[in-house]
Symmetry: C2
């Protein structure tokens, strides 16, 4: 398996055809997986915003006040309002805003970026990343998979890692159910989230800084002879951590 | 960046010299990262066990009864006892056993495997995976990094993905603090857990089934001109999800 960045992409603006820009710079082959950072998908889709576009309601004022209280830093209630509007659910409001976004991804601040925004105050996540992935895939001549990626923190472990927000042209996961190990025992691992692992691979090659390369091609990834699964985001019913966090209140800085 | 499996490894037994077995089969180069599945590290370190070795105490009996009640399946209290003995903390005991293991990793059942065990009833995690990684690294002639990997589920998202348990010869994370984006804004991503992303890459190439290849080499990974960080596992104080889960009780199947 190989992974390489697509070099020489320009700064992306609203209306840019990402598929065309990638195809001009990478000699894609059938079976490649093209991993595209959500930042450039958002920019191409015009998902930039100014804080002035968000008028804080009472909940945003309350959240901003509580965050300021807890963190000791002034928080802009317009930013809290933007997060509320972009989120499907605010799971936790202190010591940070943990949210579910429209695609099902759970992350901080509804994934709204304040760096790498291309000059805008705010960069919102793509509204429907799976549709974004399908559109990019349709614009590429080769028969490739496309994964729209983000970086995100996680419970229990420090640091961020690449994750998938949307994908097209490949399943989200390898489904090992019913398969056996060398001794004939059923496997403990039942589903492997390959799109997240592809996003992690892309993030190793890419970069966040001013030398960032937002598109990475993974070549010769073999899905193998397994069933595919399209489920990546847990439903609330089976998401015990979300349930626990809903019930929990942060009790001090 | 390239990733390839080391082919032809035999079934690993207690006392086997993993470094020698890998060196005989892979032409390693300075800068390679050798990702080794914890299963084979455990086997080489003799970390197999039989259920009969674990005599359930009252807590194990209680946990097994509650799990059986909640899941409708009979649970072996000896297995619960093994989990208790292997765990630093049992964070949640229903609807599954969420634990912290000695290295700091939070996962289900203290990482005890019942498949790919090489014939044993139980395969325990390496006791000190960082020391295992350092020992393998010391046994290899090339100047490589070593990551001892596992697969693990996670909150919010279905499926398992590769994660790092221990590492040597490279930092756990890239530290971007103080670095700026193209517009000169400080980056939102501050720490990138590269050892987890390397483990995810290895897991894409590897396999869990009877064609499993437990050692994967990642070549031409560039850490880049960033500070390194050795922190991967959150301390309890800053781990809000763990705090919430400690306080939470599962209230029905």
């Amino acid at each position: 398996m190989h992974a390489f960045a697509v070099d020489g992409l320009p700064e992306i603006d609203a209306g840019d055809d990402l598929a065309a820009l990638v195809a001009e710079r990478a000699d894609l082959t059938d079976g490649d997986v093209v991993c595209v950072a959500s930042t450039v998908v958002s920019k191409a889709e015009g998902r930039t915003a100014a804080l002035a576009e968000f008028t804080p309601g009472p909940r945003a004022e309350e959240i901003a006040a509580r965050l300021a209280d807890v963190t000791g830093e002034q928080k802009d209630p317009r930013f809290a309002q933007a997060v509320i509007e972009e989120a499907t659910e605010v799971i936790m409001d202190a010591p940070f805003l943990l949210t579910e976004t429209t695609c099902g991804h759970v992350g901080v601040n509804a994934g709204i970026d304040r760096s790498n925004t291309g000059g805008a105050e705010l960069l919102l996540l793509p509204k429907r990343p799976a549709e974004s992935a399908a559109r990019i895939q349709a614009g590429l001549a080769a028969d490739v998979g496309v994964v729209v990626t983000d970086t995100s923190g996680r419970p229990f472990r420090h640091g961020q890692r690449g994750v998938a927000l949307g994908w097209a042209g490949l399943p989200a996961a390898r489904d090992w159910r019913g398969e056996t190990d060398r001794d004939g025992h059923e496997l403990a691992v039942t589903v492997e989230a390959v799109v997240d692992e592809l996003a992690a691979t892309a993030n190793l090659v890419s970069g966040e800084g001013d030398d960032g390369t937002p598109v990475v091609v993974v070549r010769e990834f073999e899905f193998g002879d397994h069933d595919g699964s399209e489920q990546l985001f847990r439903a609330v019913d089976g998401d015990f951590v979300r349930q626990a966090l809903r019930d929990w209140t942060f009790d001090g800085a």
